[in-house]
Amino acid sequence: DAVKLQLKWVTQAQFAGYYVAKDKGFYSDEDLDVTILPGGPDIAPTQVIAGGGADVMIDWMPSALAAREKGLPLVNIAQPYKHSGMMLTCWKDAGIEKPMDLVNRTLGVWFYGNEYPFLSWMAHLGIKTDGKGPDSVEVLKQGFNVDPLLQRQADCISTMTYNEYWQVIDAGVTPEELITFKYEDQGVATLEDGLYVMEEKLSDPAFEDKMVRFVRASMKGWKYAEENPDEAAEIVLDNDASGAQTEKHQKRMMREVAKLTADSNGTLDPADYERTVKTLLSGGSDPVITKEPEGAWTHVITDKALN
């Protein structure tokens, strides 16, 4: 059976589990022919799946829920990432020690659906986001790299524990020069990389069965990747058509990613879901979602796949 998986971002160790499952034949063991479609900075996986370009996609929960409210009924069928890897990385020498020190500073934030956790954090802290001021911060739409921090165009930028943070370090900055705020520690973490499908498709038993097999094989891939991080990173590198990824970076990323996936067997923890929804609902003046979503997740697939 053919399955098309739409990634949220470019080929990298963040998605190692799927590449491992494909490479190690876990998918073919389940009679699946999986095509992995890499994403990119301007690809909205939600849009791809809405148009039928993919069967299943990896996305962060905020954007999936936002799409659901916009009338695109997406359902979370599995959640390989237990923890959030997103954080804000700041220059220590700019005088930032605690969250409230952020006021009157310039912060780089990812948009494109990734800005929600940040906005709700700021709402939480009571900091406005409309330019520099005593109770407000200036927000920049951060590009794809960490230059704004290195060039000191921003005092803080968004980073992932497994990726951008290490790019800052690779640029020669020592960890002592930096201070990081993990969203998880701030209580505003939202669920990242989950697997989502269109709701109406789930009512088709054949599709459901396909997803069960897919999730089972994928989780097998993840666990393998956690145990053999170097090999997983190599597999990812083999699949990177851009030739831009470096081995050192991917191996390190794999180790960091493993920390986030290790606590999950693929089943979504309803408590995490609740926390995500709460965070999003308090998203300040322009909340991501305006009402509690219903039926946005299901345990049907994971129950069948993992038991």
Partner: protein, 304 residues
């Protein structure tokens, strides 16, 4: 001969300015690196230097100048750094390797050529329609002009995704963006060209009682050739731009655009510049090739 000398002089001047520009552009980064490595830098501390003028810093830390041409992640890489990277990623790598620029250039080129072919074909067809039908001319032409004011490149991501989602994948979405960009110059040039015969040349055919088809093949088409080639040159350059931009959102899969993006993503400025230069070389080769074809064709037609 004189022209060659002039071009070389201009190029030499550009390279010289480039080297000079590296110094102020990179000085802050270099000083930070040097400071981390334990060197004595004036003034101390990156925060203190943040708002200082680059030239002042250069003057106070002249020992660091040579380092501005050898940084690993410079704001502006020196010419030789780009050249070395280009050399290593083209000549030194197997062309099938994903790290070879030749491979990426080929990916982009195939989308460019396909888009160019589609765009040119459609452009010529539309031009023929416009020249032969008043209705087409009056209703389509104004919108064709308006369509060019839409920043299609900015929408490329969305278009790619929409195409993606209706099952058009692979090289075709890129080619479609390319085609859209190359299509307009071809229409405009071709309409101009097909209308270039003067009233007398058209009247001459009328006195022979020639059919519209004969008029097209014997007069309009041949006389449009110089215009066609001029717009083909613009068209292929736009095609390349289209293909590169269309590669940005599809993620760092393959192609010069992906390379550019990946370079940007990982702050590999040297990689960005070498991808840019590869694109530039590709563009000039394509335009140059068309120029050669133009010269040969027009010569055989006796128009050069």
């Amino acid at each position: 001969m004189k022209s060659v000398l002039a071009v070389l002089t201009v190029l030499a001047a550009i390279v010289a300015i480039w080297y000079a520009a590296c110094v102020p552009m990179n000085i802050k980064g270099v000083l930070t690196d040097l400071e981390r490595a334990g060197a004595q830098v004036v003034p101390e501390g990156a925060v203190a230097r943040r708002d200082r003028g680059a030239f002042g810093l250069v003057a106070k830390n002249s020992f660091a100048i040579s380092a501005t041409w050898a940084q690993e992640r410079p704001r502006l890489p020196a010419p030789h750094q780009v050249a070395v990277e280009l050399w290593q990623t083209t000549v030194m790598k197997k062309i099938t390797s994903k790290r070879s620029l030749v491979f990426h250039a080929w990916v982009t080129l195939s989308a460019t050529l396909m888009g160019f072919a589609i765009g040119t074909g459609l452009g010529i067809l539309l031009a023929v329609g416009i020249v032969h039908s008043r209705v087409m001319d009056m209703s389509v032409m104004p919108w064709a002009i308006v369509s060019q004011t839409i920043p299609i490149i900015a929408l490329a991501p969305m278009i790619i995704v929409v195409l993606y989602s209706i099952g058009v994948q692979g090289i075709l979405p890129k080619a479609i963006i390319s085609a859209y960009l190359s299509f307009f110059p071809v229409v405009v040039g071709m309409v101009k060209g097909l209308r270039s015969p003067d009233a007398m040349q058209i009247d001459l055919l009328k006195t022979y009682n020639a059919s519209p088809a004969q008029g097209f093949w014997k007069l309009r088409l041949p006389s449009s050739m110089p215009y066609l080639f001029a717009s083909l040159k613009i068209g292929i350059a736009s095609s390349l731009v289209g293909a590169i931009v269309a590669e940005l959102p599809t993620g760092a899969v393959a192609g010069l655009g992906a390379r550019l993006l990946a370079g940007s993503y990982y702050g590999q400025t040297i990689q960005i510049w070498s991808a840019l230069f590869a694109a530039a070389i590709l563009a000039s080769v394509l335009v140059g090739l068309l120029g050669v074809i133009q010269r040969i064709t027009l010569k055989r037609m006796g128009m050069a």
